[in-house]
Subunit: 173 residues, 2 copies
Amino acid sequence: MKDAMTVISERKSVRKYTGELISKSDIERILKAAMAAPSAMHMLPWKFVVVSEPDTLKQLSAQLPFAQMLEKAGTAIVVCAVTEEAAGGNEAFAILDCACASENILLAAEALGLGAVWTAVYPDEQLMIAVRKVLNIPGDIIPLNIIPVGYPAGEERAQDKYNPVNIHWGKWS
Amino acid sequence: MKDAMTVISERKSVRKYTGELISKSDIERILKAAMAAPSAMHMLPWKFVVVSEPDTLKQLSAQLPFAQMLEKAGTAIVVCAVTEEAAGGNEAFAILDCACASENILLAAEALGLGAVWTAVYPDEQLMIAVRKVLNIPGDIIPLNIIPVGYPAGEERAQDKYNPVNIHWGKWS
């Protein structure tokens, strides 16, 4: 398996999949990585809905303009933020913690030779309502994103996004 | 170097440091990892302030109750979210993208045998104002966190936070 720095730099958004399904064991390894994320005050305010039923994937992709690849990927993870379980009951911490968990999912997929991509649900209220409805998610839970996971068709490559102009040494100015 | 899945599971919050300074080369490798994060619509709405001047670290730790370790770490990275450069000019996307960049920083530090910890600034308005003042950060920029990076004193261990109750298979209910 590749070292961590290589996986971080080679991770890319994969939107084309072969159609081969990933194993339950890989899903569990990916979710273990998700739950290894840091969280404010160690509150772990996250839940994960794993969707692989074709009709459910179809219903989701019908609602989400940027998630048309869900059916072909065959598996999707919906990262859900639970505000009332976050530090101070603060939505911002729930979102931040779940963003870190999501990044771990993307990296774990890359590490396992799989492909994934963050398709946004939050902060779009209409998309959140639609996803909650399809997946029976309670109204106080925030579906942050839908992450399809599958075998990449091999078309996407990581870009080098390093730009030293983004670094301020010492102070901003 | 350890493989990515190991680094993800072994990453922990390091709050005790030896005092030895990390190299500029390691800082740049860590920031390269940060900028490899995904971002909505590929907007890359992030900047990074690298602080190593002892007096500046002292000023920051004086303002931040959970960042008393900054001086001992010797180096700190402040991840800054730039709303006007985010997808749709949306603050939520700036925050999410910078959270992913922050998780990459934490993982890169672990991969390099260093220690780091996310100390929160956002969403606390008073802390954001204080950090902006010390570092001359413009008022429209969001200092998301301060991440000290240094050599770990070796006291902290990762916890196993995997909990299958957090997984919903198929639908939420």
